[in-house]
């Protein structure tokens, strides 16, 4: 059926076959998924040209539900699989969805190197500040002092700032929002996909079942209100900053590689000229 005749959610989701989802009631991952779909819809992308690749975790289950070329890989490694696919199929839009543990604990090395390399991938990190799927252990983004199943006396590991990490490592585009700000998810995902280079969109998202219950003593609604009240689109003291934090033009890895191919094939002189003028 043509895209125009169907609501985008229905068109882009494997809605007939694969629902309900595995996610708990009140979980924020579904909101992020909705934002991603609407972002893709904004760009009018065809389903065939999009790939969604994930690692392991609650967020890692997202590719099952979207009607793209989808791949659920090993824990932490999604960006590395995506790197191979993107280089093999440069025309595809490759989205990588990861939990915070997936992206910056076990996958931290791949994350910084993907940013450094600046291959044209769109990484969407659902940051619920916990290991959801394994039942609420502290993750690299759990705040200091929070309780977790294996931090019964409070977390003493300093949390990562995912966006700061991405910026320092060289990502071309970095944005942060929350599950409360669904329209921002859609906008940032669309911009991230459009951006030529490595794009990171961090979405703070509630895990009411573990992080909410153990660390915050909050339910899903309270957590969403927390995101509303404690984040800001401007840099304000005491508030988590939302918005596009980095948007810069850096030569993209695929383009660089294609220049290498041209050089190796003996078009060295002509390409070097073009490279200098740009």
């Amino acid at each position: 059926m043509a895209m125009e005749k169907m609501p985008p959610m229905q068109y882009y989701l494997r809605s007939k076959k694969k629902f309900p989802t595995v996610w708990c009631p009140g979980c924020g991952i579904g909101i992020v998924q909705g934002g991603i779909i609407r972002g893709i819809e904004r760009l009018r992308l065809s389903k065939d040209e999009v790939a969604m690749i994930s690692g392991i975790g609650c967020t890692g289950r997202m590719p099952v539900y979207v009607d793209f070329n989808t791949m659920h890989t090993t824990h932490g490694r999604a960006l590395a699989f995506a790197t191979g696919l993107k280089l093999a199929k440069p025309g595809m839009k490759v989205l990588v969805v990861m939990g915070d543990g997936d992206a910056v604990a076990i996958g931290g090395n791949h994350f910084i190197h993907a940013a450094r390399r600046n291959l044209d991938l769109t990484a969407i990190i659902v940051n619920n500040q916990t290991y959801g799927m394994t039942g609420g252990q502290q993750s690299p983004t759990t705040p200091l002092g929070d309780l977790a199943t294996v931090a019964p006396y409070g977390n003493i590991d300093q949390p990562f700032d995912i966006c700061g990490l991405a910026e320092a490592a060289g990502a071309a585009f970095v944005a942060r929002t929350t599950a409360y700000h669904a329209v921002e998810i859609e906008r940032f995902v669309a911009r991230g996909i459009e951006k030529k280079g490595f794009a990171v969109i961090e979405v703070l998202s509630q895990c009411p079942v573990f992080y909410g219950r153990i660390a915050r003593r909050q339910n899903a609604v309270e957590m969403l209100h927390w995101y509303r009240d404690n984040t800001s689109a401007e840099a304000l003291e005491g508030k988590v900053r939302r918005g596009v934090l980095v948007d810069r033009d850096i030569p993209e890895y695929g383009d660089r590689y294609r220049e290498i191919v041209a050089r190796a094939r003996g078009e060295k002189a002509r390409r070097a000229e073009g490279g200098r003028r740009r």
């Binding site: 099952v64 790197t83 093999a88």
Partner: protein, 367 residues
Amino acid sequence: MQGNEAIAEGALAAGIGFFGAYPITPANEIGEIMARELPRRGGVFIQMEDEIASLAAVVGASLGGLKAATATSGPGFSLMQENIGYAASTEIPCVVINVQRAGPSTGLPTGPAQGDVMQSRWGTHGDHPIIVLAPSSVSECYGLTVRAFNLSEKYRTPVILLADEAVGHMREAVGDLPALPVINRARAEVPAEWYFPYDNNLGDVPPLANFGEGYRYHVTGLFHDKSGFPTERQDEIEPWMERLFHKIEGNLDDIVQVEEEAVEDAETVLISYGGAARSARHAMNQAREKGVRVGLLRLLTLWPFAAAKVRSLSQQAIRFIVVEMNRGQMTLEVERVVAGRIPVDAVHRYDGQLINPHPIMKAIEEA
């Protein structure tokens, strides 16, 4: 030509389109040649941040339709294990070259060894089929690399080329490398609605569609149904598992390759492979000169194991001597298959040095 160079030539001859690298001795030459040659052919070379990533990228590229490989040695091979299992489960073709060095741990980076024989079979968790090939000469480095790609494409499976430092760094004259037949994976031809990447009713190996070409499907390391979606249903898991094993075990004639030398009248049969088989052949020739009836069974395919051949030889020979550069990993397998019918002796070395023909001669004479 050097063994590692011949491996690289084999990969190019097989039509490699993607190489994911991470440096390690004694496999580095392969990556160096790939970095030079792949761009010239429009292929992709990338050095990743570690071996976990290099194999992950290889699998991703293969799903994009490129023949893909990586090369490593002991420590890197250990890091690759989880993703080898992923490729086996998801049935994505790829070639993993392990130029073995002495281990465990960092071991002896420039010392030849064959200590990864069991790891190559069982290194990743869970029951899974695998194909492992072991070259003994420079020309075989070339031929078996082509074969590794062919088998991986034909059976949609990871294939491990288990070379060793002795063979990888050895130089031999090979003349002009022959053009060998090249197999490409079966492509999906049905309309997208009818495409099932894991359809157990399509024989042992259902066709694999490239991502991005109109066949949208799901790939996961979870147990999956014929569409690729996760399943916990026993009636879907069992036939898939059966097919996964049957595609290898049901095609042993095609996959298992051995070479027999002078076994017809042999009382003692040496069983060896890879670099160690060269010492075994040397000892065999010496023994033959002295009139001792010795033969050699050389395994080119390590896994699946050449059980039928070993069993039939055990009915004809008086004794086996397994020659290998480890503490007896294949010896165990030979003993399992021989099941006590004839004695299985062994010559092992695992200190990062080549096996001299001398201790093999001694073992032959002690018969």
